[in-house]
Amino acid sequence: MTDELPRTDAAADAVGETQSAASEPLLRIEGVAKTFGTFRAVGGVSLDIKAGEFFALLGPSGCGKTTLLRMLAGFEAPDEGRILLGGKDIAQALPHERPINMMFQNYALFPHLSVRDNIAFGLKRAGMVRADIATRVAEMVALVKLEGLEKRKPDQLSGGQRQRVALARALARRPQLLLLDEPLAALDKKLRESTQGELMELQRRLGMTFIIVTHDQEEAMTMASRIGVMRDGKLAQVASPRELYEAPRSRWIAEFVGDINLFDGESKLRDGHRLVIGTRDAGALVVAEPREPVGAGKFSVAIRPEKVKLSRRGPVSEAGHETAINRLDGVVADICYLGGTTTYKVKLDTGGMIQASVANSARLDVDAYSLDQHVVAWFTPDDCVVLPS
C-alpha cells in the first residue's frame, strides 16, 4: 500500500515535471500575496492546477484560504504575483470579466428572483438568446434535480434545494473553473454526505475543474483529488489525500489532518533503512528512514491510531509480528466506542499515552479490552512517520 507514495521528493518532482510538460496547467498561481492593513492574509502562494482536477484548499479559519479564493474570483486584487488562467494573467481583471464562477458559502441567491431567473442571470449577462437560455436553464434544473421548483423564490426552498440552485447558477455559464466556498457548511450531516457524492459525480461527468475551500478535513479528503493545506497565509503542503494523511510534511499538518500519536525524542542510531529514536514517553522506537535523510537532532515520531495494534500478550501469535519491532506495554486507561471502531487510550509503562483505533470487525465483543487491562500496543517501523520537531 505504501508503495503508492512517492518515496523521495526527487521522484515526486520527476512525476510533476513530466505531467506539466505534457499539459499546461489550467490555472497557475505565482507568488500571490495579499495584505489587509498590517495583516498578511496570503503570503506568497504558488500553485498549479490542471484541467479536470478537484482541488481542495484546506485550513483553519483565518489561514488565508478564502482570501486566495476571492482573488481567483476577482473580489480582491493581489498585491503581488500573477494568476494565469489558460496562460493569460487575470490577476487584475474584474470579476465579471473572468470565465470563472463561484458558489458562495451561504449561496447568495437573489431573493427577488425565482429559481429560473437565478439560474438564467449569468446566461442573460452573457448575451445568450432567449431560446438557448430556456434550454440551458432546463438542462441545469434537471442536472441538480430541481424540476417543478422553477417558479419558487429562494425563501420558499429548503436548505438543500437552495444549495442546488446555487450550484446550478454557478455551473450554468459552463465556467472554465468553478470555485466553491464552503459549499456544504450549511447542510446537516446526512445531507452533506450525500451531496459530497453528488458533487464528485457531477465534477467527473462534466469534466470541469473545481476548487473547493473548506475547513472540514474529512470533506476535503473525501472529495478532492489533491489538497493544499494552508496555514498563516502559506501553503504548508500540497498532496493527494492519501499522501497528506500518511506522509504529512510537518508536525502541524500531522495534527491538523486526522488524529495522531506524537512522541518527541532524539535520533540515536542508524541501521540501514532503520533509525532508532529515543523518546521520553515511549522509550526507544524503531522507525523507517524518512524521505529526506535526516541527521542527528530532535524529532517527533508520529503514528496514526489505526496503525497501532493491541494484543493481550504482544505480537507473538499475530501475523506480521516479525516486523513489529515496536512493542509498548501498558494498561487501558480510556475506552471510546464509536460504532465502527473503538478508540482505546493506553497508559504506557514508560509514562506516555498512546491511542489505538481498533475496527469492531466482530459483532460480539470477544476481542474487546476492558479498563485497566494490561495490553501490548505494537506497530511496525513503516507505520511511523518521522517529523522534524
Partner: protein, 304 residues
C-alpha cells in the same frame, strides 16, 4: 370586554392602542373638519354656522342633515385657483421627491458601505440638523440665497457668474429648501434597507458577469425598493401640504395648496371652504398610499 380585563393583558392593550390613537387623533378631528366643510360661512366666532345642534333633539338633527350642502366642494372644482394649487402642489412634490431620491440614494448607499464605526458617525451627521429649529434653518437659507448672500459670493468668486443671481422668491430657492429639509427622511429609510442587504449578493451578480451598472439595476435597486417606497412616501406626502418653505422661499405668483388653505382660514376667514380643500387634499394623498399598500401586499404574496 371590560376595561380592566383589557389592561390586565398588555398584549391585547398593545393591539388596540393604535386604533385608540387613530380614533382620538385622526378620526375625531377629521369628523370636525368634515362637519365644518359642510356648513355655511358666517360672520361669527367661530366663523361658520353650526350645521346641527346636538341639544335640539332628533327632529332638528334630521332637518339639519337634509340641509347639508356640498357647495364648498363645488366651489373648489369651479374656481381655477384651487385646481391650480392642487396641480402645483403635486408637481412640486413629484419634482422634489425625484430630486430627493436622486440625491439621497447615493448618500444612503455610501453610508451603508462605510465601515461599521463610521456608519454611526454618518448617521449622526444626517440627524444633526434636527437639533436646530426648522424655521431658523429656513431663515438661514434666506440669508445664503439673498442678493449678496453666501451662494452668490461663491459663484462670483469662482467666476461662474458675472452678476449676482436672483435666487429668493424663485422655484429654485423653494426646491433647495424642500430638498434640504426633507433629505434625512429620504436617506434614513434607504440607508436602513441598504445596510441590511448583504454585499455578497452584489458580488454574486458581478461573478455571474454583470458589469457594475447592471449589478446596481438588477440587484441592488430592486432589493432596496421597500426603502425607496418608504422614503418617497415620507417625503411626498408632507411636501404636497408644505406651507412654510414655499411661503418663505418661493415667489407669490403661484401658490401651493398649503398656502391656499392658510389664506382661506386666516385671511378670508372662510373655514368651510378651507375645510373642504383640506378634505380633498387628504383624498388626493390617500391614492398613492393605497397604491403603495397594494403593491407591498402583492410583493408579500409573491414571496410566499
Amino acid at each position: 370586554m371590560s376595561a380592566r380585563r383589557i389592561f390586565a393583558r398588555p398584549a391585547r392593550f398593545a393591539a388596540i392602542a393604535p386604533y385608540v390613537w387613530m380614533l382620538l387623533f385622526f378620526l375625531v378631528p377629521f369628523g370636525f373638519v368634515l362637519k365644518i366643510s359642510l356648513s355655511q360661512t358666517a360672520i361669527a366666532q367661530p366663523p361658520y354656522e353650526p350645521v346641527f345642534d346636538l341639544t335640539a333633539g332628533w327632529g332638528a338633527l334630521k332637518a339639519a342633515f337634509a340641509a347639508l350642502s356640498v357647495d364648498n366642494f363645488r366651489l373648489l372644482v369651479s374656481d381655477d385657483i384651487y385646481v391650480f394649487a392642487y396641480v402645483r402642489s403635486l408637481t412640486v412634490a413629484v419634482t422634489a421627491t425625484a430630486l430627493l431620491l436622486l440625491i439621497g440614494y447615493p448618500v444612503a448607499y455610501g453610508m451603508a458601505r462605510l465601515p461599521t464605526r463610521w456608519q454611526a458617525v454618518a448617521m449622526v451627521l444626517v440627524i444633526v440638523p434636527f437639533w436646530t429649529s426648522f424655521l431658523i434653518r429656513i431663515y438661514a437659507w434666506i440669508n445664503i440665497l439673498q442678493h449678496d448672500g453666501l451662494l452668490n459670493q461663491i459663484l462670483l468668486a469662482l467666476h461662474l457668474v458675472s452678476q449676482p443671481v436672483v435666487w429668493l422668491s424663485t422655484d429654485s430657492a423653494m426646491y433647495i429648501g424642500i430638498v434640504y429639509s426633507y433629505l434625512p427622511f429620504m436617506i434614513l429609510p434607504l440607508y436602513a434597507t441598504l445596510a441590511k442587504m448583504e454585499p455578497v449578493l452584489e458580488e454574486a451578480a458581478s461573478d455571474l458577469g454583470a458589469p457594475p451598472w447592471q449589478v446596481f439595476w438588477l440587484v441592488t435597486f430592486p432589493l432596496s425598493l421597500p426603502g425607496v417606497g418608504a422614503g418617497v412616501l415620507l417625503c411626498f406626502i408632507p411636501i404636497v401640504g408644505e406651507f412654510v418653505i414655499p411661503d418663505l422661499l418661493a415667489g407669490s405668483n403661484s401658490l401651493m395648496i398649503g398656502q391656499t388653505l392658510w389664506l382661506e382660514f386666516f385671511t378670508n376667514k372662510d373655514w368651510p371652504v378651507a375645510s373642504a380643500a383640506a378634505i380633498v387634499l387628504l383624498v388626493v394623498l390617500l391614492v398613492p398610499l393605497l397604491l403603495y399598500e397594494r403593491l407591498q401586499k402583492r410583493q408579500l404574496e409573491q414571496g410566499r
